[in-house]
Symmetry: C2
Subunit: 199 residues, 2 copies
DNA sequence: CTTCATTTTTGACACGATGTCGAGAAAGCA
DNA sequence: TGCTTTCTCGACATCGTGTCAAAAATGAAG
């Protein structure tokens, strides 16, 4: 057995950085290979294909992101939790220079696009899975808030609405790049959900 | 002067159909040339580049879409108008077999992605322009509703919120492909906006 | 220590995409 | 009829993905 000359996790990190900055289709394996100091062929040997490499890199990101999310949703009043949720979401979109947007939303629109080509379906599921998990976390937060009398609506419907807004924010971020606008929409959404008339 | 052997508008229509089904990066000029019965070189001669062709095809679509939108927003109570707005939006996402999603959102995430490459910026503006125009139409509708006592919130903020939700719906359509879910979110959004406590 | 088996690395190759270029073809006009 | 202008067409350069076989490096067995 000959040992691998590069670190698996390092490559995933470097690759995801490129994918995030330039999009999946806009990033070539040559770019990643150069950045990682590895031959292109070695990447194929280790990961199989560009999309397989992307999927592994994305799963790595999704795990980290969910951890941060749980932390943000875990403290204070319901309003504080939702504010922290939107803060984290928007900060994530606006991280990097220039801002890199939302990798999940970009990936969904970029790869979930082509007609049934096999791996695209696998990618679609990876993205959808993260969105579902985020929705579940928000729903749990709302349910807890309802038990404490901080919320009187339908947690499932409200969570879906909130997550839909965050996906919309990801799109508007690309369209306008106006962070203040995103924060305004977020705060307006929290008001709508929490001030709703008896449900 | 030798006359062109193909119809300009026909090619735009055929090209946009391909771009809509397979994404911009997923569609090759050879595909379009084959479908349109034209040589690839002729497309370069007539349109300059793939992205220039896409932009022209997209502008053609955007014009038609805005016309349909004005029609949908022009009749009945405010609730009826907003319902028609979401209906048109979702029907548009779900048109085709398989459903083609939202071309604007897909285009934004696909092209507005790469770092300052010139034409990508032009594309971004085309997408952003349609989103802005849609927002303006919704805002006008809400303002008219406010004058008739059907709405007591801030039209600008509410319009932005509604359009943000439609962008989110475009993303969820790709993630889940569940049309009933999209319609539920839409109806919930209308309730939130119209039932809001005095603002 | 030598040999072997296994895995990684590496470079060459096939293929398809974008975009350029120049030669040839087809109209309008003098 | 001949000239000019534009369009069409095929060849080419370049870059992307993905495959393959040969070479290199390591661990294990004799």
């Amino acid at each position: 057995m000959r040992p691998r000359e590069f670190d698996h996790d390092d490559v995933l990190r470097i690759a995801f950085d490129q994918f995030w900055r330039k999009g999946v289709r806009g990033t070539s394996l040559s770019d990643i290979a150069r950045d990682a100091g590895v031959q292109r062929g070695s990447l194929y040997n280790a990961f199989g294909s560009k999309e397989a490499l992307f999927l592994q890199a994305y799963e790595r990101y999704a795990g980290n992101y969910l951890l941060a999310l749980q932390k943000a949703l875990g403290m204070g009043s319901l309003r504080k939790r939702l504010t922290a949720f939107f803060d984290l979401t928007i900060s994530n979109f606006r991280s990097g220079a220039p801002p890199r947007g939302c990798p999940t939303t970009r990936g969904l629109m970029e790869l979930g696009a082509a007609e049934g080509e096999g791996l695209d379906e696998e990618a679609r599921q990876a993205f959808a899975s993260l969105v579902s998990r985020i929705t579940a976390l928000v729903q749990d937060t709302l349910s807890a808030g309802a038990r404490r009398g901080e919320f009187n609506g339908n947690p499932a419907a409200a969570a879906l609405h909130i997550v839909t807004v965050t996906r919309g924010l990801a799109v508007l971020e690309r369209a306008y790049g106006d962070e203040a606008q995103l924060r305004k929409i977020a705060s307006h959404t929290i008001d709508l959900v929490l001030d709703k008339k008896g449900g």
